[in-house]
């Protein structure tokens, strides 16, 4: 019996050596990771828990810490500053939660979005970007993430969310409303960025940058088919909302002070005709008119001159 004890002893020493090796590896990995110093300003110290309120749901930031790290931090960064390890590869860049400027809102330009706005954005994802459709989360998970996003900016302590804009009922789609929308598209100089045919190739398109001086491309209406989406939703109400609230952080301004609600609906109807591959009521009406939008006649001053290359704004061609 005693003869087996030295064997056991050697086994113990062997196991100790293995775990010693593991220990060494464990020490080396983090040590190597620290070779490059962490430069730049220190992130904001996050101490105050935040809440979100979506219907009957209350989200708690403390509950979303793990989910944020698992799903969001790779792009938005551990500190919400859009400096995740993937951010450098992404175009457009991820949202910087530290400045609390959000593109998709129901609230006036310059104001904070409602909790519901952010909640909807998480579930919808953002087309033309790397932001996926996170519709596999539970409602509670999403509400918690909305609360978590708020911890990154002091704006959420100082300000309240803006009051959502009122969206009147949509009037019927008619050729008259499409024609009026086309006139507005010219008058408001939407074509300068979005191009005469809404293909995102207007004369100013190449010069556009966002609020962080990153190049940005205007929306190309002509791309996509029936599944085409806008960044902030796919319904007519969503389009209405986009140009009445603006897309904060981008050159797309709010037109809330420039056009009347019914005029805005006319513009929505015209914009739908720029989605030439999409089945829509607007395109049906246009097709029945052989693709020609008649000139709109009203008492307002004539629209601004067409671009120098005579590419007049149009739709459906």
């Amino acid at each position: 019996m005693n003869s087996s004890k030295p064997v056991r002893s050697r086994r113990m020493t062997f196991f100790a050596a293995i775990f010693g090796l593991i220990l060494a590896v464990g020490l080396v990995i983090p040590a190597n990771a620290q070779d490059v110093p962490d430069v730049g300003p220190k992130p904001r110290v996050i101490v105050k828990p935040m809440e979100s309120h979506i219907g009957n749901l209350t989200g708690h930031s403390e509950s979303a810490k793990s989910d944020y790290r698992r799903y969001c931090a790779g792009c938005h960064g551990d500190y919400g500053d859009a400096n995740g390890e993937n951010a450098v590869w992404l175009d457009p860049k991820p949202r910087d939660f530290t400045i609390a400027t959000f593109k998709c809102r129901s609230t006036p330009t310059g104001t904070l979005p409602t909790d519901q706005d952010i909640y909807d954005t998480i579930a919808r994802g953002l087309t033309n970007s790397n932001m996926p459709i996170w519709n596999t989360f539970t409602k509670q998970q999403r509400a918690d993430l909305v609360a978590y996003i708020k911890i990154f900016s002091p704006r959420w302590d100082r300000e309240k969310a803006g009051t959502p804009i009122q969206i009147p009922a949509e009037p019927p789609v008619t050729m008259d409303s499409i024609a009026h929308g086309k006139a507005l598209f010219t008058k408001l100089e939407c074509w300068k960025c979005h191009g005469p045919h809404g293909e995102g190739d207007g004369p100013s398109a190449a010069t556009l940058t966002d609020s962080k001086d990153q190049p940005i491309r205007p929306y190309n209406f002509a791309l996509g088919k029936d599944d085409s989406r806008f960044k902030c939703g796919g319904t007519n109400r969503d389009i209405y909302k986009i140009f009445m609230t603006g897309v904060d952080g981008t050159p797309m301004p709010s037109f809330a002070d420039v056009i009347q609600p019914n005029d805005a609906w006319d513009l929505v109807h015209f914009l739908r005709t720029l989605q030439v591959h999409r089945h829509s009521k607007e395109n049906e009406i246009l097709m029945s008119a052989h693709g020609v939008i008649p000139p709109y006649v009203d008492k307002n001053p004539p629209p601004a001159a067409a671009p120098a290359d005579n590419k007049a704004p149009g739709g459906g061609q």
Partner: protein
């Protein structure tokens, strides 16, 4: 005596020291690596997502990852088509595991030089080892055209095709219709190909491979990738899923090695529910049923079966329920049940005569022994996970299979029953979209009733494993 005592004390101290060193090593690794888990880096690189976005712990999928897979490895945004990728992007990931493991197998038949006969003896071995190498390549050929090819080797670099499939995704622009053709994993909610364990007996789901003692049916192993066509569909948010597959009854082996007219089917469906703060719960079912050959033409002797000549198809089935239950963000329990049944022909040793799993050939005029019955069994596996963080998961598994009817009357009722326990941890020291690395630790005990080769007593096998599971 005094010296012996001192030595004994010293050994005890060494033992204590070893535990201390082990504990310290674990603590240092868990606490020291403070970087901010891992996947197919090919997909993560494409979309710029961390591996943890799709994996509860790599390679096991979470709900988002399951939806991504069901959509044909697409996020369903405008970045799905490969045209969006840098031309240098190549959707390939390599995976391999250097490990140390110790395997102790009970009651092995060994020659006894003293008697000239055989005795049963436990054989224990340990050492450093490597796994085979997997080349995962998959993604989209174009929007809504996806593929997956997986050449996989054993540890000596002998390759085979584990997966080869192309898929039409979202046919008619609907997530409810996707068609896959090739060799692929069956639509098991608890995927064995994404199993979190690596030991010999713990690294598979026994339920997915169970064959009763003496049974010749190799064709009902739902854990093996199969050749066939699959139609599957799901709701937009993947809460509702279904799949129907038509498979060749050949256990995924190419070249039509078995019967010429034998087919099987695998049908699965599930529904997930939002349970508030508990998370998303999923309940589902599966059925694998089909026919496989028992009768073979031979050439050059009664045991030299001709490949592809199998006829005399007999039936088999495996069916059960699957549950994925989440209790908050950190704890979940995966449950699979099974009721299995083989034709009495399989139970009597007819079936895969090509690979000699079957011992009998159902030649013309063959009759079954009087009283032969369909072998049936029931089983369950329960696998709880504790996700401490996206980088660290603790897991366990209890799996048991109980024969409910032996094919031959009078056979010991519990012959071949299996019970296995597995515990383990996986720790990912970093989380990026570029590569994956897990420090894996696991212990498995496997118990089978009545299958010792000489005595017919129970067999106990254990394995402990530690290693690095990495992909890049």
């Amino acid at each position: 005596m005094h010296m012996w005592t001192k030595s004994h004390v010293r050994q005890k101290r060494q033992s204590a020291n070893s535990f201390l060193v082990a504990a310290l090593a674990l603590i240092v690794l868990l606490m020291g690596a403070s970087q901010s888990a891992s996947a197919l880096p090919a997909f993560a690189r494409k979309y710029g997502l961390r591996c943890s976005a799709c994996h509860e712990s790599w390679p096991m999928l979470n709900y988002f990852g399951q939806k991504f897979k069901d959509n044909g490895y697409q996020l369903m945004n405008d970045r799905d088509a490969p045209i969006w990728q840098n031309p240098g992007y190549w959707p390939v990931t390599f995976r391999i595991l250097p490990i140390w493991h110790r395997v102790s197998s009970g009651k092995q038949a060994v020659d006894d030089p003293t008697t000239g006969g055989q005795v049963e003896q436990r054989i224990t071995s340990s050492g450093f080892d490597i796994s085979g190498l997997d080349f995962h390549t998959g993604g989209t050929l174009e929007k809504n055209f996806s593929f997956y090819v997986l050449p996989s080797s054993d540890a000596t670099a002998s390759f085979h095709f584990e997966t080869v499939m192309a898929r039409l995704d979202n046919v008619f622009n609907s997530p409810w219709l996707n068609v896959k053709l090739g060799k692929f994993e069956l639509d098991n909610l608890l995927s064995e190909k994404r199993i979190l364990t690596l030991t010999g007996n713990g690294g598979i789901y026994q339920l997915y491979h169970f064959i009763p003692q003496g049974d010749g049916n190799v064709f009902g192993q739902m854990g093996d990738n199969q050749l066939g066509v699959e139609v599957m569909g799901h709701s937009v948010n993947d809460r509702t899923r279904y799949s129907v597959a038509l498979l060749s009854s050949n256990d995924g082996q190419p070249g039509l090695p078995y019967g010429s007219e034998a087919y099987s089917t695998f049908i699965a469906g599930s529904q997930a529910f939002d349970a508030g703060k508990l998370g998303v719960q999923r309940l589902g079912f599966y059925v694998m049923a089909g026919e496989a050959p028992t009768s073979w033409l031979t050439s050059g002797g009664p045991n030299a079966a001709i490949a592809g000549s199998g006829t005399g198809n007999k039936g088999y089935s495996r069916e059960g329920f699957v549950g994925q239950f989440y209790f908050g963000q950190r704890f979940d329990v995966q449950v699979v049940t099974q009721h299995g049944q083989d034709s009495a022909w399989f139970g009597q040793g007819y079936g895969d005569f090509i690979d000699a799993l079957a011992t009998n050939n159902n030649t013309p005029g063959t009759t079954l022994p009087a009283g032969s019955r369909n072998p049936t069994w029931n089983g369950v596996l329960v696998e709880p996970h504790f996700v401490y963080s996206p980088q660290l998961i603790f897991l366990a598994r209890y799996e048991t299979i109980r024969m409910s009817q032996q094919s031959t009357p009078g056979t010991r009722a519990d012959l071949g029953n299996i019970t296995t326990y597995t515990v383990g941890t996986r720790y990912n020291p970093f989380m990026t979209s570029r590569a994956g690395f897990a420090w894996h630790n696991e212990f498995n005990i496997f118990h089978q009733t009545g299958t010792a080769p000489l005595s017919g007593t129970n067999i106990n096998t254990s394995e402990v494993l530690t290693g690095f599971d990495f992909d890049f």
